[in-house]
Symmetry: D2
Subunit: 261 residues, 4 copies
């Protein structure tokens, strides 16, 4: 008979065994190539998707595309992701902090999707192209079963100097909302704000001009995500900021994540 | 600001909206082509993976391969899955029932994997070939990043008569263990046995001879699943039963699932 | 040292060996599920893509989607394809026949693409969804690196009676133009019309209503095929015929193919 | 009516148009990350796969894995490949030169496979993992429909100094055998040795230790390639040389390719 042990961590299926929890564990992504798009939008519209307890600090949408390579916990394997986030402040009874609220995260690999979801990072699947790089233009797109719904493009990247690059290193308060539904009924068994700290250490960085194009899909084309894409596509792109392109290391400090109160 | 409503069901990311829970909802898979492999094994070894509260009723491993097609909730899309289960009895304070305990379920599509995990069905990813059908032999395999770890083969299928086929229709008590880990610590926020009822309605069925071949993988080849595959590969195949091949409808009655007590 | 033998057939790489040519060989696809879309278009426009020696017999575009399963020569494996063809008459010095001229064939598997190209069937790659079947509607789409360029839909299929189905069986004159470029120069080493005979034996058939939607792509989105898609997308859909859906066997008689003269 | 023009180059389907041939055209791959494995083998066995006109200069097998990125002619897209080659001398009536004879080339993208085959480079399909890089070990594998048949591993890479790296730049005589089968009969319409010149310009290089593992597949597992894999797997690995890892640019000079005489 299988018995769970209290000092161990498990993932489903749990009954094949877990591992001793290590509070100081950090997971290193040794090679992450990222493009960060940022635009101002209608703050009232955007606020519709920000749960209670959080408040928007700026009417901004951040799209963070990342090619994750040399991922330790995946034995050196790789995947791509696109985080859609908004800058927020959390004010709870004990916690007060600012960070980036993850509205949704698309990834092209189930393994990190599952792990992240259990911790409250709202990850779902999309096909995500590696960057197509041609004559100084960097392009990628997200699609679902062959229908593209987000196209990203960056042109004319200008390298930043070493001092500027070093200033980019730092901790990131990644925030999410963990929602674990009840079995056989409406509502949730767990519904709570969470903090998922990361640390970014780029060794190179560039600034460029960006373009973002959302394409809504129908229910027939994407039955479980179409409402998410529609909501994001309806947020107006009022002003695009320059795109920040970086390459370097990233550390996830999942063991220091916590439920916010 | 987004507010969750108590009578609604949500999936992460929840803040883009949910839907009214309907207890009578059932999800129909209009075309499911399945191969069920069954073999006796060492009951003591197998029992190592059966959590407290369940007990093995027979020392048997069941491998259920299914090509799911015409899936309603996926707008008619499709995926393949392989369920590894064992026959168990659950004896709780209120509930007592028999069913198939899902040791692990591999699927080749993230969307149903995520949904199932939230409900305690231990789904993880594998590439799963559609059936290769050649001269009366049906083959499939499961692989992860190019390394096959399970090969299934069925030969010489003999059709069953209509009366026998009708006798195969019926409800299935699919059982699992939902384990939602704590954020930032060892142990679980939710750790509980669950029931996930289904109904199978085959319109055609055949019996054939089967062969099952497990190939263990290293940590380097499959860092998050190698221990699961190793455990299953070490269960001896003492006697193979005939393979049951079926085609027909399947209904998931997720809304009638529940936590067992 | 490797020596080619005159009575053998080879595929590249040839030096690992070939097989004795068998003129009576036929390759059977035991399970083919097809949807045939047909529409009238502007005959003058369409004629721009019909090479010398062929002439259009009707100003029609035929789109034949096929899910090929249980493919003998692929050891029972499977793939999807979409043939775009036009009805033509070939008038050569020796040969005179009617058939379907393959303007382009998209397939989602390299193995049959390569084999076909060598014989003059103009096959290129696309991702092609298996049919999504939902509430009597059958949908598929073709995409390239996430950008859909052709969406097909059929609704309200009505079964044909057995006599009608039997009348559908028959030989098909599939026609192509083999063009093998010179190495290191313009022009061709081989440039010739070819015949590739097939035989279709459906066991079931239905008629339904169809919709076809082409979406042109840019050079950036599909650098090697965008001009093909643009040409086809610009052919007006003047009148859609009913869609013919069939399921059954198909035989390729490659060994009876020949260069037309 | 479509008419081919003599000064243009075309690819199948030719009737959608071609382009003016440019003898000075070169195609640049701006970012190629490569691992070159080299081992001595049994020369008599290896010679069985070297066609008439070529002779082995050393009993060596070369495996060149390449991650091709920023590929100009693919609008900046990417693919992976694995070339298996042997060092040969060609002695014809007019031409005499040394180079690397391409026994087979596996690639994970149909588009370059098709283009290369037309020119006599024997490309076929495999799934090829991007490098998994973990604690100084670089791994990849080739598989077909989930069955791995070649695993490559490199450990302990030591950087080469700039002078050594520069010495690696140079032209490569890539040699192949173009075999275009007859339609409807045994034998070939074109059967000829070809030269396909390339230029390699690495900007960084390392030396490491390598391991190569071939796994034969059955006809059922890989009906069109199993004989190739078997032949290569049977060549003994007598002595592994150090692995050369490089990163840099590559130029294909297809327009300067030619049929050898």
């Amino acid at each position: 008979m299988f018995k769970l042990e209290d000092d161990k961590s498990y993932r489903m299926p749990a009954h094949f065994g877990g591992w001793i929890f290590d509070r100081d564990a950090q997971v290193t992504y040794h090679d992450v190539f990222g493009l960060a798009f940022l635009y101002t939008t209608d703050g009232d519209l955007l606020a519709n998707y920000i749960p209670q307890g959080f408040e928007l600090t700026k009417p901004q949408v951040m799209l963070q595309f990342q090619e994750c390579r040399q991922v330790d916990w995946m034995a050196g394997s790789y995947y791509n992701l696109l985080t859609v986030a908004a800058p927020v402040r959390f004010k709870g009874q004990h916690d007060e902090l600012e960070g980036a609220f993850a509205l949704v995260v698309w990834e092209n690999d189930t393994t990190p999707i599952l792990t992240g979801n259990m911790m409250g990072v709202p990850k779902i699947y999309a096909d995500i192209e590696d960057l197509h790089i041609c004559e100084g233009t960097y392009r990628t797109r997200l699609s679902y079963e062959g229908n593209a719904f987000l196209r990203l493009e960056m042109t004319d990247p200008q390298p930043m100097d070493q001092q500027q690059v070093e200033a980019l290193a730092g901790d990131v308060n990644s925030l999410g909302w963990r929602y674990i539904p009840k079995v056989g009924g409406p509502g949730a068994d767990l519904s709570q704000p969470i903090l998922f700290p990361m640390r970014s250490e780029p060794h190179s960085a560039w600034m460029g001009r960006g373009a973002v194009q959302w394409t809504p899909l129908t229910w027939e084309q994407n039955p479980t995500q179409h409402h998410i894409i529609k909501a994001l596509a309806e947020l107006p792109i009022i002003e695009m900021s320059p795109v920040l392109m970086t390459r370097g290391r990233m550390h996830l400090m999942e063991a220091r994540g916590r439920v916010l109160q």
